[in-house]
Each structure stands twice: as C-alpha cells, then as structure tokens.
Amino acid sequence: MTETPLIGGATLAPVDARLAGARIGVVTFPGTLDDRDAIRAVRVSGATAVELWHADSGLGGVDAVIIPGGFSYGDYLRAGAISRFAPLMSTIIKAATGAASSNPLPVLGICNGFQILTEAHLLPGSMIKNDHLKFLCRDQVLRVENNTTAWTNAYSAGQDITVPLKNQDGQYIADEKTLDALEAEGRVAFRYVGGNPNGSRRDIAGISNAAGNVVGLMPHPEHAVEAGYGPGHTGTDGLGFFTSVLNTLLGGN
C-alpha cells in the first residue's frame, strides 16, 4: 500500500495560530473562473479567505488581495480592459500604491488577474495572444528569479517550481526599455524554464512592481496547492505564494 495518501490529507501547511487571523481577499468579476480555487489556496495556507465583489468599493479590511484568473467580461475587448474600471479596482490601485497607507497592500494577479493589473498600470507591459495562437494547458516549470517580493519570499532564489499554465493570451510583451528596467531592478519574478510556452519576451512568466507588494504572473499557483489536484498528481509547488504573503503580513519579511 502506498504510504502517503495520493490525494488530500497531508497537504495542509503547518498552521500558525496567528495565520488564521490573516484575511486575504479574492475578487470576483463577471466571468472570473478561478476564484474558488484561489479561495481554497488561501484556506490551505492557513489564512482566512474573504470574497470580494467587483462592484463594491470597500475592501472589507482585508490584509492582501488576489485577483484570480478567468475571462472577465469574456475578454471580448483586450483581456482585463473592462475589469480595470470596476469600482473595487480603484480602491485596490490606491491601496497597492501606498497612497492610502505606509504599508502598501499586497496584490497578486494570476492570469486574467495579471492582465487586469497591467491594464490598471500597477504592472508594466501587456499580454497578447500566444504566438502559436492556441489555448495552451500544461504543467509548466518556472524559475523563481526574485524571492524578495510579498508573494515569493517562501521560495529560494533560482528555485524551479512546477505549476499549471492555461491561457489563450499569455504572451508577455513590453518595449525594450521597460524590459531592461525590469531586469535591472530585479522585477522579473518568474521565468519559463524548459521551453517558452507562448513567445513571452525574455521568457518572462511573472513580474513585480518596484516595492514588491504587487506581483502578476500568467501560470496558476493556486492549482498546485493540494496533492492530487495539481501537476503530476502530487505537485504542491504553488503553495509558497500563499505562505509568502503570510510571512509578509506577520512581519517575517
């Protein structure tokens, strides 16, 4: 008999009693798809997930925000272009840029969330259609290039992690000057390893803002937090995103 259960059971991270007090908001837009998955990932990390609705303007006192994946408003216009104007986004933009407090709000944008963050100008660049013009779903190896952000500090620099990738418009582009600046400032958070899946410039899979509180990436760490439901039936490499932000909130980083 297999010693460790193939699925479930031993997947919960050790829970620090203080963690449950951490409240992480997950935003739902019309057309958001991975919100329940992000909520589950927050729960698995030991924190409390708070559902946020795009049309509200208050953040309900959350300590950090995740903008999950999906096809908000169908992506019929540029991906994220409509969602960026939601009332809640104005509040998030203010809180994330530190205008409202000295501790800028940690914000993670995954896939469509990343696209929304670029449309909101919290992160530079943009995503266009994959170079092969097809939706692509596969397990993807990423290299953690910067482990000092609010969402990556649980990883070691240079660590390779495997998480699912699934998108149609995943090709990251920016002008050369922006790309050079991102590299120089260490703001490339993740790079694709083992083949660039979509033609992204410089193999960039995810980036952060200068302060490191805002991170966006195309792959889906929230789909690699429970053994049995992620890559290769056992992968939980994505959990580090959700424990990282708890380290940040608890002052560990």
């Binding site: 008999m1 297999t2 259960p5 193939l6 699925i7 479930g8 059971g9 019309p30 057309g31 798809l33 991975d34 329940r36 998955d37 589950r40 999906g70 096809f71 408003y73 169908g74 992506d75 019929y76 097809k134 939706f135 692509l136 779903c137 596969r138 699912p164 699934k166 149609q168 889906h220 929230e222 789909h223 429970e226 049995g228 439901y229 992620g230 290769g232 039936h233």
Partner: protein, 769 residues
C-alpha cells in the same frame, strides 16, 4: 421607441385561421409530412396559424420528438429492476437524469450530439454543443462541474478534416474554457465514414444537494413566466424563414446563420446567476432554451405543469427587431433560460438578475385552463393543448430488416484476408508494428487536443484524459466524487450492432471500474444514419436492444441521452456509433487509480485472457480491413473484472491500472509506460502459451474484459489471493523499470521510451500544426 410599434406583420391569429381554412401553409418546407400536417389540423380542429405551424413543425421534428426511435427507446425504461432504480432520483424524460451519490449529494449528467452544425460551422457548432448540454445540467438545479467531448472526424489526411478539427477543438476550448469547467476526457476517432458527417458529442456533469433538484414544469396558478439571459436573435431559425411570408418588411436582414452563435461569457454569467436563484429557492420551475427555443420551453413547461400558460410574445427582448412571431418561436439563440417564479419572489429574482447584469423580461403567467396561449400585441396567435406540441407528436414504427450484406460482412474475417498477408512475426517486425500502431491516427497521443482544454479549473480534477476515466471530487471534506468515461466503436457496431453497442457499454464500464469507481448510471448518444433506410433502422433497433439488455445485466440504468439520426452523406450512412457514457461513484477520490505506473520494481499483472480477436481491431483498420465478428461480449466477466479493480483500489492493492481496449495489450503497455515516463520489462511467452495465442495476437487482439495493473511488492500475495478466490485469470507479466527508459519485451525487442514518445506524440502535430 418601442420595437413593436414600427413592425408591420400580417399577424395570422387564431380567429383568422378559423375563418380562412383554405389558406395554403408551407408545412412541407418546414419539414412536416402530409399525414403530420393532417394530424395538426385534426388536433386543433382547424388549420394552424403560422405561429402554431412553426411550433408543431419544430417540436415534431426527429430531433425534438424522437419519432423514429421512441418505440425502441422505451426499452431503456422497461428493462430496469427495482435495484437499478434505487439510486435514480430523476429518470429519463427530464432535461437530464439525476442519481443519488449519498451524503445528501446528487449528480446529473447527459451526453448530446451537435453533429451537423459542427460540420457546417465547426467552431460555433462545437461551442454551442457545449453550451447546450451545460444548460441542460443547470436546468436540473445543479452546478456544472466538468465536460467531456467524444469526437469523430473524417480521414486524418483529408483536406477538410483539418478544417473541422481546428474549428471544433477551438470551439470546444473557447467555449468550455470560458465557463470554468474542466474538460476531463472524451474520444478522438478518425475514419473516412465521418468525412461528410463528423460527430461532435458533448457531455456535461453537474452536482447538487438533493433539495436543490429542479424540474421543468410550470405549476401554480398566477406564477410568473420569465425569459432571461441573452436576447433572442435570428440565429438558428433554420426553416422558419419560409414563414417570412408573414412579414412584408422589405428592410429585414436577409441572411442569418442557420448555425447558432455562442457567447460563453453570457453562459458563465447565466450559470452563476441560476445558482444564486437556486440557492434562494427563487424559481418554481426552470427550462433551458435549446432546440426549438421558445416553442420547446413554453410547451414543455406548460405540459409538465398542472395548468396552462399564457404569454405575450412581444415582451421577448430581441436582438433583431424585425423577427416575425414564427421566427421568435423557433429561434435557437443561445444562453437563454425560462423560469416560473411565484409573485412573492419576483423582487428577489429581479435583484439576482441585476446583480449579474442579466437581461430578463416577464412574458406571462401560469393559468388553470390547460391551454398554451401565446399572444401578439394582445391578439391570440397560438391556442393549443401544450401536450400535443411537446409529447403527443407522431411516432413511427419504421420498417427495419437485417441488411442483405451483413452475412457476407461477418464472413469476411481479417485472419486469412489479403490485408493480413504480411502479419509481423519477427522481433523486428513486431517492434515496428507496435510503433506503427501507437503512431496511428486513432491510437496516437491526443495531447494536441487536450492541451487546448483547461483540465484544472475548479480545483477538483483528480484525473483527466489520458487516464481511463475523468475523476471529479464533489465534496471537499469527505472526498466523495464521480468518475466518467465515454466510449464507442463504430467498426464493432457496424459488424454487429447488438453486440457493438454492448461493447461500447463494456468499455465505458471497464474504464470507470479501472479508475476505481463503482459504475452507477449510463447516458447514451446514439449517432446513426437515416431511419428511413431499413438497414440503418435495423442497426438502431439492434443497438438499443443490445444496450438495454446489457444495462440490465450490469445493473446500471440509462438516465438520459440523445438520438442523432440522418448522419449520412447521400445514401451512405456513417458507421452506427452509439456513444455510451458511464458514471461511477467514489467514496473518496483519493483512492482513484491512475493509468500510468511510476514505482520502480512494482509487479505488472495482466487480468483476463486473450483470444484471437482481430476483426474490427485497430490493427485490421490500419491494414484497411473491416469485416468478421466483433470481439465477444462477456458482461459477467466485465463485472468480475470491475469488482477486482474496485476492491484493489479500495484496499490499496494496486498503484496503476489501465484497461485493454482498442490497440490491445500493445497500446496499453506503451501508454502506461509513457504516462509517467517509467519503463517496464515484460515477458509474454508464458501468458501466450496459457491462452494458446502467438505473441502478435497477444499484443494486438482486442479481446474484452482485460486490464493491466501495477502491484506493490508488499501487496502481491493479497492481490493474487483475491484473483484466485474469484477464479479470475491473472498472470504476472513483468515489472516496472522506472529508470530503464524503455519498454523491454524480453526475448523480442527493447523500445526506448523516447522513441515510443516520438512516434506516439508526433502524429497530430504533423497533421494539424
């Protein structure tokens, strides 16, 4: 500006119809036969109005009325024991059947066809196929949790196949991925018989608490009838255009697509909005709008209820304000639902619509007259008994007879045929044959397709293609879940329709059991040619008889499905293709068995025995031969094998299992090795001697009731004891060699995994880019 005030129609009212009995109506153009039109007149006691004619013609079509198959389909309801019924919460006849999962959970699933639209316009045809089946699931009160899509296209090298392939796969992905529903499996078969008639079938599965089950009926005098979701447009109105005579508006847009156009974002919002309605118990009855649109929804809701219904058609929100009443009644615009709401819930219903920014319009209410009354600006244009539209359509006892050519076909066995002249026997020849098989269109890796589908969304996918079954967790606390597999073999069914349908069921049943789940229910999509051809009608009758007999023997009921007829080009029908979906249950999906082995040193066992059954096989197909007898059906053995695989999963005796079906042992060994890139060393002489077959036959025969499993060393005694106690044939054929990097068939050949992978995964990219 009111949309209706500018419209000028010759509105054909009931009053007008009564006094103008001799008006010529285009019933033939709408697809009705003379006897059917006569029946309509008899039912109404007068000629129908244009709007009534539109409703009857579409509701009495083969697609909506099952008029050719009804007499045969009855067997699915008749060949059922009390034991089979005990977990069935809702049976055939509703939008989809509902099965009890335990712990207060219920599951609903259904498979449907969207074949001909997918040939005309592959992207939208396939996309709206997903959309339609998902709305069927929502209509039952369930949250949809996964989709699957069995596909059958023409010859892989034919220029038109690429058009259908690219369009249909992109459409399924584009629509399904946008709904947040993981695509967990399906099939892909290439065969020139499907060149002019590709099969695009779609399955959806949903889950709900028992108390959330909803039915399509309009009951409760004074309850309100509401249409919500997308606006009604001119797409998919098909034959209704011949009723354009009722319009004399020369500014009318002239060409509208016959294939519906999908808007997945609207559907996703509709799903969430409906779930909010169910959560608040805000609807009394609900029905999706699919084929026949408002005609179907109003007549079915009204006839399943306890009274009647009265609606004002000008209240329907339109995308195209020039639509005539007949066109509005027939429009198949997607992403629409109709619901019955009690007056006290109207405000809460509207609040839910507003929250999700979904458009809605109140059309009318439930009455106690027993009549379905539809008005246009107050004038009655439809006044019918809704049962006569929805349920009392024509039923045909189509003549059928065993085709004259059937005997000759069955006598033409592969063994000894011209195509079998150069059967491989040397070590080198066998290795080349294995490589050829796994690179062939039907046996090659389907990653090119499945990588365009999101299998992760929802976070509950415990297994997906290419594992034997898709597995979805339902309850996150307990791990309660379901497994699903769809299967069909058109070649087997062509050789022997009765047994071919049973073989489809056998394989789907075996796939579900291989994953470790207990098979519970069946949904079927019967894809056949024209029922007016006695040969085809015989195939259909035999397939239904075979399938219903086998369901009875395996003890799992058919809970729903769909019949797709007239799949033929000219007078040449497709192979009869009954696609069978089996649903299974897991107490805890943590114990699901994946198809690939991984642990070095585990023993590989072959369950079952192999006979020389190459007729209809993939190997014979590769050699261009189709004839002889389909593999032997042995349902008792399938059941025994299933019990072994389920027990082995439950008691942790096996770590991997893969069923043997198309491509036989050769395909299974390669697939189980490639899944986790873990090789194996196998020795086949002993088992070949036991079964009295040569190595080629052992590798390529498609005998049923077989599987390979990998067993941890510590479990071998227990596993062997279990098989022995059940007197089930089992043979240890090898060990997993995780680091060896090859499939080594001892004494014959060694095939490096890299070489196998290149062959297996290169085919679809080579043809489709």
């Amino acid at each position: 500006m009111s949309e209706t005030s500018t419209k000028k129609f010759n509105i054909d009212t009931v009053e007008n119809a009564a006094v103008t009995p001799d008006v010529q109506l285009p019933w033939a153009e709408l697809g009705l036969k003379q006897n059917e039109f006569d029946d309509v007149v008899k039912v109404l006691g007068r000629r129908p109005t244009g709007a009534e004619l539109a409703m009857y013609s579409v509701m009495w079509s083969e697609h909506c009325s099952y008029k050719s198959s009804k007499n045969h389909l009855r067997q699915f309801g008749e060949k059922v024991t009390e034991e089979m019924k005990k977990d069935m919460l809702v049976g055939i006849g509703e939008n989809a059947g509902v099965t009890n999962l335990g712990d207060g959970w219920a599951v609903t699933f259904k498979i449907e066809s969207h074949n001909s639209p997918s040939f005309v316009e592959p992207y939208q045809g396939a996309a709206t196929g997903i959309g339609g089946i998902v709305r069927d699931i929502i209509s039952m009160g369930a949250r949809p949790v996964a989709v699957m899509d069995p596909l059958r296209f023409g010859a892989i090298g034919h220029p038109d196949t690429a058009r259908v392939m690219h369009g249909a796969v992109a459409g399924i992905g584009g629509y399904g991925n946008s709904l947040g529903l993981p695509n967990i499996g399906g099939e892909m078969v290439f065969d020139s018989v499907y060149q002019g008639n590709p099969l695009v079938n779609a399955l959806a599965v949903g889950v709900m608490r028992h108390e959330d089950i909803r039915l399509a009926n309009a009951s409760g005098l004074g309850n309100k009838v509401v249409l919500f979701g997308a606006r009604t447009g001119g797409d998919g109105i098909g034959g209704a255009s011949v009723l354009a005579s009722e319009s004399f508006d020369s500014t009318k847009p002239s060409k509208r697509p016959a294939v519906q156009v999908g808007d997945p974002f609207a559907e996703k919002v509709l799903i969430e909005c409906c779930l909010e309605l169910f959560k608040g118990s805000l609807v009394e009855g609900i029905q999706d709008l699919g084929a026949a649109g408002i005609s179907c929804a109003t007549s079915e809701l009204a006839s399943n209820g306890d009274g009647g219904m009265e609606v004002e058609l000008t209240s329907v929100l339109l995308r195209d304000p020039t639509l005539t009443p007949g066109e509005i009644l027939m429009s198949e615009s997607q992403e629409r639902m109709m619901a019955v709401v009690s007056p006290e819930n109207v405000a809460a219903f509207e609040a839910a619509m507003d929250k999700w920014a979904v458009e809605y319009s109140w059309l009318g209410e439930v009455t106690d007259t027993g009549r379905l009354i539809i008005k246009w600006e107050g004038a009655v244009i439809v006044d019918v008994d809704p049962r006569t539209v929805a349920h009392d359509g024509p039923v045909y006892d189509r003549p059928f007879a065993r085709p004259e050519w059937q005997d000759a076909l069955q006598a033409d066995t592969f063994t000894g045929s011209v195509q079998d002249a150069a059967r491989p026997s040397t070590a080198e020849g066998l290795k080349a044959a294995v490589l050829e098989l796994i690179a062939s269109p039907n046996m090659c890796s389907k990653d090119w397709i499945t990588n365009q589908y999101d299998r992760y969304v929802g976070g509950n996918t415990a297994m997906a293609f290419p594992d034997d079954a898709g597995v979805i967790r339902v309850d996150e606390e307990t791990g309660l879940g379901v497994a699903l597999a769809t299967d069909a073999n058109g070649r087997y069914t062509f050789l022997d329709p009765y047994h071919g349908a049973q073989l489809a069921l056998s394989e789907a049943y075996r796939n579900v059991a291989t994953s470790g789940a207990i098979p519970m229910a069946v949904s079927d999509c019967l894809n056949f040619g024209s029922p007016e051809d006695p040969d085809v009608m015989w195939q259909l009758a035999e397939a239904i008889r075979g399938l219903s007999d086998a369901c009875m023997e395996l003890g799992i009921p058919v809970t729903g499905g769909n019949v797709s007829l007239y799949n033929q080009t000219g007078t040449t029908p497709i192979h009869p293709t009954p696609v069978v979906a089996v649903l299974g249950k897991f107490d805890d999906v943590a114990r699901r068995t994946p198809s690939g082995w991984a642990e070095d040193g585990q023993a590989i066992y072959l369950l079952g025995t192999t006979a020389a059954e190459l007729d209809g096989s993939e190997w014979a197909n590769l050699r261009g031969h189709l004839g002889g007898a389909a593999p032997k059906v042995d349902l008792k053995r399938e059941r025994e094998l299933g019990e072994i695989l389920i027990n082995a999963s439950r008691d942790g005796m096996i770590d991997a299992a893969h069923d043997l079906s198309e491509g036989g042992l050769a395909a299974a060994l390669v697939e189980s090795s490639l899944r986790n890139n873990a090789g194996a060393r196998v020795a086949l002489d002993e088992v070949a001697a036991r079964d009295g077959v040569d190595i080629f036959t052992l590798l390529f025969s498609e005998t049923q009731g077989r599987a390979i499993v990998s067993v941890p060393r510590s479990e071998e005694v227990r596993f062997n004891d279990m098989c022995t106690a059940r007197r089930f044939p089992v043979s240890r054929i090898g060990v997993v060699d995780a680091a060896g990097g090859a499939l080594d068939v001892q004494g014959l050949f060694t095939a490096p995994l890299d070489e196998l992978r290149e062959a297996h995964e290169g085919t679809l990219p080579k043809y489709f880019g």
